[in-house]
């Protein structure tokens, strides 16, 4: 909201400079975003919180300015004199439902001359960004900015009669509003109608046909109170926000409506002439006084600062509250403009604001130590750290995705959780799988010509029943050299790289290694933990990659559910003594058929060698010129060791010979 310094000074005797006033208002919660010197005045740009509709007016801010600068308010509410009606021309007001409209007032002013506004009025309106229309319309606006109550002037002669109805629009009812837009109305929208038809959308905008123009002689001046919720819904439905709807939505009190109507009428008569012929009010004109008690001790209990009751009383009184003190508490009467104040804590806030939060001491709280078992957060942190230690970078991708991405990854669109009100098609679905989003991130990097892209993400996926699950996603692409204990290995096998990363993760978290089984439907692999499926390894389809402009690249990805892992991770560790006796290593190089797995080899070796064989390590695997088609050459190292004594060559040699023999017999290995 814009506000000008001199307008404010009409109502409060401040001597504070504009910049200092801006600072004090800001520190009291009325944030002044900018102060601009313009045309010999100062324009304040103020941000007003939604709980303070009273600040949407010069007078409201003046009250605050008076309190923060210890100045006097200069507000006089003069009653206006009603001339005796020359003819019998009373207004009849009918309110269909008092919940929609608790108060409606109408004043008939006859014989006005509509013309341009005086310069001072034009200038003030223009400084706050309001275009000058004509004197009558400008005055209704000026009164609104001054008091906060939106007013509307109808050309009275264009109404069917002086019978006003405040009612819901009929089905199919229509109205062209002042902005020239044709509006379709319905029963959720409140209108001001004459005997024949809707003439204004209540609280939002008047109708074009009853607009005040240069030829208008007689006006009907409306000031009313409408249900904020109703105005808010209608405003949304019609897609129009006005200075008027903005204020009605936030709430206006009876006192303000009555006073500003008088103020505007007086000003119209002063500046545009005419006589007030009739003034009618329908609905609740009585002002209910709220009384709230504030314990002195509560103020200390919430703020942690000792403020004397005398100071509290001064603060509340300066803000317009009626205060009566006793030994332990105040009885506070709330002015009608402060509809936001409902309970003790609201008044404690008032005291804090004006006392100055900067004057409240800062004190680090003593927080009761919580039993600090390892939390999910700790395990997730550990998970991420194990992954980055392996060279994988953390990504964070959008969890909302589009239909196209779902289809590319063959996810049934109907089964995906979906937004009712997406911002765009790009973000219509909640991802059922983390892989698609990560592949998209990988694609972006591949397009940047990154030779190696390895990303992971810890994030949520969502299922049709609106459930969510925390998962780990991995995506790998490009060639990478890895240093293992034995050698530097060039990784071409994406699935084995995935396996390696996951194995390191599981051992890092202290969980038993998962089973990894071929998955016929995806031609990838399933990951199982305690015979429960917890994840998948996949090779991303070239169709999906091509749709993302990625060509000639193999991309591997995995998704692992973290829920099970979080439950099992980081158990107590137990030390296993290390052998102090040396090992004897024997290497074998042999050719086997392609369909023989490494597991078959190790299983056979262990079965044959028994307890002496500690481990079978792979040193090389080779396919090429000297190896027959459909075969591969393994070089493995058998590590023999006993935990309790040193082995001798004499013991190992015959057993190793048995291993070699078993390989040749059971697996048709050709020893080289």
């Amino acid at each position: 909201m814009k506000l000008i310094y001199n307008w404010l000074k009409d109502f409060v005797g401040i001597k504070t400079s504009p910049l200092e006033l801006a600072r004090r208002l800001t520190m009291a919660g009325l944030e002044v975003k900018a102060v601009e010197e313009k045309d010999g005045d100062f324009v304040f740009e103020i941000e007003i919180t939604s709980n303070r509709p009273d600040w949407l007016s010069v007078i409201g801010v003046a009250r605050e300015a008076a309190a923060v600068t210890n100045s006097k308010l200069k507000i006089k509410n003069e009653k206006i004199k009603i001339q005796k009606p020359k003819e019998n021309q009373g207004v009849k007001i009918t309110i269909e439902d008092k919940k929609d409209c608790s108060l409606y007032t109408a004043k008939i002013i006859k014989g006005v001359s509509v013309g341009v506004s005086p310069e001072w009025l034009k200038k003030r309106l223009e400084l706050i960004g309001c275009r000058s229309i004509n004197n009558v319309v400008d005055i209704t606006n000026y009164a609104m900015f001054t008091y906060g109550e939106p007013l509307h002037a109808f050309d009275a002669d264009k109404l069917a009669s002086y019978e006003i109805e405040v009612r819901r629009a009929n089905a199919g009812e229509q109205l062209v509003t002042i902005d020239g837009v044709f509006r379709k109305l319905d029963k959720d929208i409140l209108v001001i109608a004459d005997k024949q038809q809707a003439q204004a959308v209540a609280g939002i905008m008047g109708g074009k046909s009853t607009e005040v123009t240069a030829s208008t002689r007689n006006i009907l001046l409306e000031a009313a109170i409408f249900d904020p919720v109703l105005i808010r819904r209608a405003r949304r439905k019609l897609g129009m926000q006005t200075d008027s709807s903005y204020r009605f939505e936030r709430g206006i009190d009876t006192q303000t409506a009555l006073v500003s109507s008088d103020y505007a009428a007086r000003m119209i008569i002063q500046l545009a002439g005419g006589n007030l012929i009739c003034a009618r009010e329908k609905g609740a004109t009585k002002i209910l006084k709220k009384t709230i008690s504030v314990n002195y001790s509560s103020v200390q209990r919430i703020l942690g600062a000792s403020i004397s009751p005398a100071l509290m009383k001064n603060i509340l009184a300066a803000l317009g509250f009626g205060v009566k003190g006793s030994k332990t508490c105040f009885s506070v009467t709330v002015p009608s403009a402060r509809q936001d104040v409902e309970e003790e804590v609201d008044l404690i806030e008032e005291i804090a604001r004006i006392f100055g939060i900067e004057n409240i001491p800062a004190e680090v709280p003593y927080v009761k130590p919580q039993p600090r078992a390892r939390t999910r957060f700790d395990i997730i942190s550990k998970t991420k750290n194990i992954l980055i230690a392996q060279g994988v970078n953390e990504a964070i991708t959008y969890t909302l995705i589009d239909r196209k991405l779902l289809e590319l990854f063959s996810w049934p669109v109907d089964e995906a959780a979906r937004l009712v009100n997406p911002l765009s098609e790009e973000q219509e679905f909640l991802r059922p799988c983390i892989i698609a989003s990560l592949v998209r991130a990988a694609a972006l990097n591949l397009k940047q010509k990154q030779p190696l892209v390895e990303l992971f993400e810890v994030g949520k996926i969502y299922t049709a029943g609106n459930n969510e699950e925390l998962v780990l996603g991995l995506v790998l692409c490009g060639k990478k050299s890895v240093v293992t204990q034995e050698a530097v290995v060039n990784i071409k096998e994406g699935f084995l790289r995935l396996k390696g990363i996951i194995q390191n993760l599981f051992s890092g978290l202290g969980i038993a290694q998962p089973e990894i089984l071929f998955n016929e439907t995806t031609a990838g692999f399933k990951v199982k933990l305690n015979s429960k499926e917890i994840g998948q390894f996949v090779k991303v389809s070239s169709a999906a990659l091509e749709a993302m402009d990625v060509k000639y690249q193999e991309v591997y990805a995995a998704q692992i559910s973290l829920e099970e892992i979080l439950m099992q991770a980081l158990p107590e560790k137990k030390f296993v003594p290390v052998s102090i006796f040396p090992a004897i290593c024997r290497d074998i190089s042999f050719v086997v058929q392609e369909n023989i797995s490494f597991k078959q080899i190790t299983d056979l070796a262990h079965k044959t060698a028994g307890l002496l064989l500690e481990q079978v390590k792979i040193t090389d695997i080779y396919r090429g010129k000297q190896i027959p088609q459909g075969c591969k050459n393994f070089t493995v190292s058998c590590v023999y060791r006993l935990p309790n004594r040193t082995l001798t060559d004499l013991e190992v040699s015959p057993i190793h010979a048995c291993v070699v023999q078993a390989l040749t017999q059971a697996l048709s290995a050709q020893i080289r």
Binding site: M27, G29, E31, K33, A34, T49, S50, N51, R52, V229, R232, R250, R301, I302, L303, G304, A305, V345, D346, E349, A352, R353, I357, P361, A362, E363, V364, P365, V367, K368, Q370, R372, T375, F377, S381, K384, I388, A389, Q390, G391, N393, E394, A395, I396, T397, T399, L400, A417, R418, L419, V420, N421, L423, L430, L444, N445, E454, N467, K480, V482
Partner: protein, 344 residues
């Protein structure tokens, strides 16, 4: 004749010493020349066969050679120990790229969340999480946000297609505050927690808006918790994250779920209060919102607001990361360009 021989041996030793680079080779060379059966010993062994008049001179020359060789070897040993290959090339071109395993990086958002959470963790807070799919009650009603009120505009929300046969309106949480409701409903006071997580709002994407972003929520509830404690805890936080030299400002504000409510500003860390494009002319940067838990929130979760009081705060992680690292476009966080991710 003897002198010539001696000179040759010396030159040969000097030549061979140049290429020696380790102790073993030096020792082998010492044995070769000065050992019991070394070249010098062989030279000496011819003395008895020489004519008597030559013996003394030859012996003297051999002795000189022996001392010279011993000195050469000693010097070489000293050079090797001090590593001074003066004038020679280093064995390794150290300007070559170092050899190391690649390590990955945590996302800057994760790093900032960790940093924030660690500060509070050290004060004794525990770190919790909460679901992203929330009920309307936890996201709004339980937090004293009326369903049809302008304050809702600040928390514009994505709604989900409801489950078949259910009337419960589900949504993607528009802030981390529903975690407050969950935690208080499931636990008894005292509580001191921080909750980091993703939140969602229907904001069109541009350099400073995103429909998905991260917040860290904080909540402390106990007897005797005051606004003074809120200030103390948040000052500790801001100084830990932005540096000891910053100044802070607590402005009264409005949030439906706290009262009194404040917005917290720090002095601009970019221009140090001179005014810049980040802080505008205000010289202050807003970093978080906070306040004393509203009695209505306590009522909703079944805490007695006459006995307990508390403070809560919430901050946008992207905003803090952008300020800390000088990032000017929020979209960079979610593009995951390695050239970006590798910088942190």
């Amino acid at each position: 004749m003897g002198n010539t021989n001696c000179e040759e041996i010396k030159q040969q030793a000097e030549q061979e010493l140049i290429s020696v680079s380790d102790k073993q080779a030096l020792e082998a060379l010492r044995v070769k020349y000065l050992g019991r059966k070394g070249l010098l010993a062989q030279l000496m062994s011819v003395i008895p066969s020489l004519p008597v008049e030559e013996r003394a001179a030859f012996g003297q020359a051999a002795n000189v050679l022996k001392n010279e060789l011993a000195e050469l070897f000693d010097q070489k040993q000293k050079d090797m120990v001090s590593g001074a290959h003066k004038g020679n090339q280093a064995a390794v071109d150290i300007s070559m790229p170092g050899i190391a395993c690649d390590i990955g990086n945590l996302h800057p958002i994760t790093q900032v969340i960790d940093e924030i959470c660690n500060v509070f963790s050290r004060m004794g807070f525990s770190i919790e999480d909460g679901p992203e799919i929330e009920t309307e009650f936890n996201n709004f009603t339980g937090l004293n946000i009326p369903l049809d009120h302008p304050s809702r505009d600040a928390f514009d929300t994505f709604y989900l297609k409801p489950n078949a046969g259910s009337n419960e309106k589900l949504l993607l949480r528009s802030h981390t505050s529903p975690a407050q409701v969950r935690l208080m409903k499931s636990r008894k006071p005292a509580l001191s927690v921080v909750v980091p997580g993703r939140v969602y709002r229907p904001d069109a994407v541009d350099a400073s808006h995103s429909f998905m972003f991260h917040q860290v929520e904080g909540l402390v509830v106990d007897k005797h918790i005051t606004l003074a404690h809120l200030k103390g805890a948040l000052e500790e936080f801001a100084k830990a994250v932005f540096g000891k030299h910053i100044t802070m400002r607590f402005r009264p504000h409005f949030f439906p779920f706290t009262e009194p409510s404040v917005e917290v500003d720090i002095s601009c860390i970019i221009c140090q209060g001179k005014g810049c494009s980040v802080c505008g002319k205000k010289k202050w940067l807003e970093i978080l919102g906070a306040g004393m838990v509203h009695p209505n929130v306590f009522k909703h979760v079944g805490y007695n607001h006459k006995i307990y009081s508390g403070f809560a705060f919430g901050m946008g992680v992207e905003r803090i990361a952008m300020l800390k690292y000088g990032i000017d476009d929020i979209r960079l966080f979610f593009e995951n360009d390695l050239r970006f991710l590798k910088q942190f």
